[in-house]
Amino acid sequence: MPRIIIDNRQIECREGIPVLQAALEAGLDVPHYCYHPSLSVVASCRLCLMQMKMPHPKTQEMVWSPKLVPSCQTPVRDGMEVRFKSEAVAKNQKACMEFFLLNHPLDCPVCDQAGECYLQDYSYHFGDAESRMVDQKLVNPKKDIGPGTLLYQDRCVMCTRCVRFIGEISGTHELCMVHRGSRTEIDVFPGLPLDNPLQGNVVDVCPVGSMLDKDFLFKRRVWELSGTPSICPGCATGCSIRIDHADNRVCRLKPRFNPKVNDRWMCDEGRFGFKYIHEANRIASPIVRRGLEQTTPSWEQLPEIVRFRFQEHVRRNGAEKVVAVLSPFMTCEEGWLLIRFIRTIAPEAALVMGPVPLEGEDQYFPVGATSKAVKFTILAEKCPNRRGIEMLLKAAGGTTLTFGEFVEQSGKGEFSSAWVVGGYAKPWIDKATAKIAANIELLVVQDIFESGLVAGAAIVLPARAWVEREGSFVNTAGLVQPFERAIAPPDGGRYDGQYLFEIAGYEGLFSAGRVREMMAESISAFREIYEAPVLPAHTH
């Protein structure tokens, strides 16, 4: 590993990275706009300039070069010495900041980016409080550049990150720079707007408030948000994300760096696909039905009722008449607890893999890229945990059925009691499937929305949205990725992990980590989990 000296401090760094990256990884705050670790280097903003020791042309003695060099474009070399703490560097930073703000409207009070804006931060730390601009500022109109994004040109620092993202990652090329010099603008070809499955990322790469997410526009000040690390349930890719929430509502989703899965990106389907969780018609609390009678048990009573009803059925109809349908939207921990409960009560119970939603084709980016050149994938498999549930079913052994077989056999009255888990974001029970409710005496349905099956269930359990649960999903590549709970269920009641924990006979508070430890004793695949590394503070 090369060793370099930055500001008199020796650091070890990775081979082949730019000095800027090494400095950031060492925890230094070096201002930069155009440099982005996942995009090509253009060294155009000039904010990251540093001083470097070079051999004097006459004496060959190592001296500080009078000329500044871009740290984002200078690869680390063993033994090199650079500095950011110098008068010349500070002077350049001040001058750059003055230029960036020359035509800036200074409208932070109405800017969505305020609070997470690198114009604000860098002005504060590296800029000057006053502008010497006496002439009238250039005023550019805002541009409606696409269905998801608005361009506020006056705030742009011309870093071209957005243009490079669209060229290098999505490969869709909608964005361009028009005009030249101080009049340069970001634009699209009229009629060919920014509209591709990854377009939301341009708002993330934009270091300032120039690219605006229409969905989030004017909704919240960012300092009101709390961020919780999570995993996107949108498809089997399993992108690392951050859930930004306030007042028990999710306000937006942002991608989180994950070198093994999604790098720094996420797709629009995942980004905006969470809206269903705030719909008013979600199943709110548990329901227990006996004949025409319908009650809402307390959370404390619930485990006892469920256990009692199942035991009663096994006694009357035999253990082979019991079945559990697991959903690819469940966490591994929930799946394990449910299997444990069912197989304890009825060791011969059949286990079923719920339907795996497939939509369209896998999409690879940049558009047209193959194999090695692929930088992002959206999968047709629109659920987060098929692999995890399959691992559990395999480990559990015994009778396993496909969902089709389950529906068919239920139609013939093969099962007297069934536990069916849904949790799908979209309706998943058709009329034919709903009919099986009539053939199952004790039907437990754990789902998020009403359906024909829910209507015919003896016990209804509210399945919670993934942001209200904790646990782990196994993505298509087999990574066991844990995620945290961001908000509470709408009614403030218990969530799936907790009530399944109690129903399975455990006491106290559910903790996904603790359940995973128990799982790992019998299933080795759960011994290793993958958590994406946290990026150094000043990278962006």
């Binding site: 109109p141 805002k142 541009k143 409606d144 550049i145 696409g146 269905p147 608005l150 506020y152 869709t172 090329h173 909608e174 964005l175 361009c176 720079m177 028009v178 005009h179 030249r180 634009d187 699209v188 070809f189 009229p190 009629g191 060919l192 707007p193 526009l217 004017f218």
Partner: protein, 217 residues
């Protein structure tokens, strides 16, 4: 929307519009492909050829160029807008470019510009109704020692005062100079006059002259 915005979602070109690039122009653009590793690299020559053929490069032409070069139309407008040389709106047969840089301004360039505006009856970035002249300003024309300067198409006029404007406008030859040139970036012509031949008959055919002729034909 809370703000007034420019609409970039509505198309600039009609999807059913007739193509504007002729077969000959397309063939000429294709002839550049061999010279470069990528088709994209032929963008500048393509723009020259199209502007020479039509006087300017319309949105429709940009879409067709993009198709030919297998790039996104946004890449075409990106390049076009970088260069003041390329026109996206129809321009006059002769473009008058007045220098707005320091030396010329000190020597009275503004008065020349005002006189031109008065006599042509148009403002900067406008074209006379008869399509003869367009008026623009530009930075230094490299004639600083003889300012104020202005350019009519390719001919530089030095030491121009307001009193010279009428004479320059009246001169039919105010826009051409004779020198050896290649027709590499010109639009395909029925009868190609090569550099040497043009030299011999002493009169170079400027782009706009050719257009005038073609229009007359």
């Amino acid at each position: 929307m809370a703000w007034k915005t420019i609409d970039r979602i509505s198309p600039a070109v009609d999807a059913d519009a007739e193509p504007v690039l002729s077969k000959a122009v397309k063939a000429k653009i294709r002839s550049f492909f061999d010279r470069y590793e990528t088709k994209r690299a032929a963008l500048l020559p393509a723009l020259h050829v199209v502007q020479d053929a039509s006087g300017s490069i319309s949105w429709q032409a940009m879409v067709e160029i993009a198709e030919l070069l297998e790039i996104h139309p946004s890449d075409v407008i990106d390049t076009i807008s970088f260069y003041t040389h390329f026109w996206t709106r129809p321009k006059g047969r002769k473009v008058i470019t007045v220098c707005r840089s320091l030396t010329c301004e000190v020597m009275g360039g503004v008065a020349v510009l005002e006189e031109l505006k008065r006599q042509l009856g148009i403002d900067e970035h406008e074209t006379t109704p008869d399509g003869k002249y367009s008026l623009v300003t530009e930075e230094c024309l490299a004639g600083c020692d003889h300012g104020p300067c202005l350019l009519v198409n390719e001919k530089l006029h030095k030491r121009v005062g307001p009193q010279d404007v009428a004479r320059i406008l009246a001169d039919a030859d105010n826009d051409r100079i004779a020198f050896e040139r290649s027709d590499l970036f010109d639009a395909p012509r029925d009868k190609v006059v090569t550099g040497a031949a043009a030299q011999e008959d002493g009169a170079h055919r400027s782009t706009s002259k050719d257009q005038e002729k073609r229009r007359a034909d």
